[in-house]
């Protein structure tokens, strides 16, 4: 009985941990990227620097939480399945190779939203609880 309870609690904990890393807590936002929805795989691929330009010819400009951002670790896990340090190393290496434009790192959700509002082609992710203008919202399909 005790063993079953331990198993049940472990599964529940695991499920909650997975949920905490799902897109349900976050909102993807973008400015003039030519689409209003994309699937999860495409979004992750885009955030890994695999596209230089959107279909509307705007340059892809990736916006990420900096190490001071409270959700830096969880967003790094969610998109890259890496620690935030590994994500910064990943980008440092890609920029050093000259293959991609450097992403913009922001300290807060508000800073991410303001930056994306200003830059056409910019894309990022913020907490759903943030004050997000409707015209920036991008729907992510699982």
């Amino acid at each position: 009985m005790v063993f079953r309870l331990v198993i049940f609690v472990s599964i529940a904990f695991f499920h909650l941990a997975l949920k905490a890393q799902s897109f349900s807590n976050y909102q993807v936002i973008g400015n003039s990227i030519g689409i209003k929805s994309m699937d999860e795989a495409n979004f992750k691929s885009c955030m890994k620097g695999k596209n230089n330009f959107w279909n509307n010819n705007n340059q892809v400009l990736i916006v990420l939480p900096s190490s001071s951002h409270p959700n830096a670790e969880s967003i790094s896990k969610l998109i890259y399945n890496k620690s935030h340090t590994s994500v910064r190393k990943y980008w440092l290496s890609l920029v050093f190779q000259g293959r991609v434009a450097s992403p913009k790192f922001c300290d807060t959700d508000q800073e991410i939203i303001e930056f994306i509002q200003e830059k056409k082609g910019a894309i990022g992710i913020v907490s759903k609880s943030s004050n997000i203008p409707d015209n920036l919202k991008i729907t992510i399909q699982p």
Binding site: K48, K50, N51, N52, F53, N58, Q59, N81, K82, S83, T85, S86, R88, K89, L92, S93, V95, F96, Q97, G98, R99, A101, S102
Partner: protein
Amino acid sequence: MQKIVFFLFVVLTLNLKAQRIRSVINGYGHMNYNLTSDLNSSNDPTKSYFELGEHDLFVNSYFKERISFLGEFVVRYTKGTPTNFSASIERARLKFDYYKNHSVLLGKIHTPINYWNDVYHHGRVFFPTIDRPVSFSYIVPLHNLGIQFQGQNLGKLNFGYDIAIGNGISASDAFDENLTPATTLAFHIKPKDNLRFGASYFYDFLSDASITGVHTGHTMSPGHIHGTSYKGALNFHLISASAAYFGERHEFLNEFAYSPTHTDTLGTAQNFSNFTYYGYRIKEKHVPFAVVDLIKIAENDLYTYHFDLIKFSLGYRYEFNELINVKAQIGYAQNLFGSSHNDINNVEFKVQFAYGF
């Protein structure tokens, strides 16, 4: 007329001011401690010394959405110069993204051969080990000055290609002494995150094989007597293949190169090298690793000259964060097949601090 010129000047100046150039400037450097011993030598076989390594200023600027500049300027210890240091332009290239993930590059680049030369360049903080593969000192054409066509992350396999034509291994950054340009054809695929397979072919014609140029780490065999180098024409080929996986736990890299060189005097020399690295991340910051690195230069080679070596290393890397790490490595090197020109029987212990800022 003068008014029109003045008006155009004002408009252009205002236009340039309105466009903010987005630049990223980074620096990279390293310092080493070396303890080496030549087991064949009876006179002072052991040496212990600190070494100030390369220091690298890296600049990446976007003039417009599709036009960027990348520069890498290195200062390094160079024996024989007035200050014992010299500066060099390691990369300086303009890039134009002409269509989606396709680009054309113009300038001095790192030749897109194999994984190491294409990915790590001079940033020791990115190196998984302390030393580059041995082949870098002998047969890998490190740089190219010319034009390059590049594509990346194409299709489901993330296919990438590089076609480069330019001044070859015997050229300088301002002159090439023959009509034939060096040609590089390279492709890679990244079927999943952190995994990359690549292959490449490089060809250059040297009208005088004794001219080393500035686009290679070309060091001749330790046993070769300088001043007696072959001055005739030489055809240089390099065929290479690499497999790299740098995951959250396991890290693996294998680079193979086969380099036949042909002269009318001694025919075709069959040279090859292979570098294998494996690392295992114990915790997020701790990576013990092992390396086997070998090279064989044939007896009839008139570019590097007869030489062979196999080197075993065991090391440990501690990453404080993405911008600084320390590596310690012990290594043993010996002849692979028993070269008649030089006997290698060395042990070494090295520590390296590598950093970026």
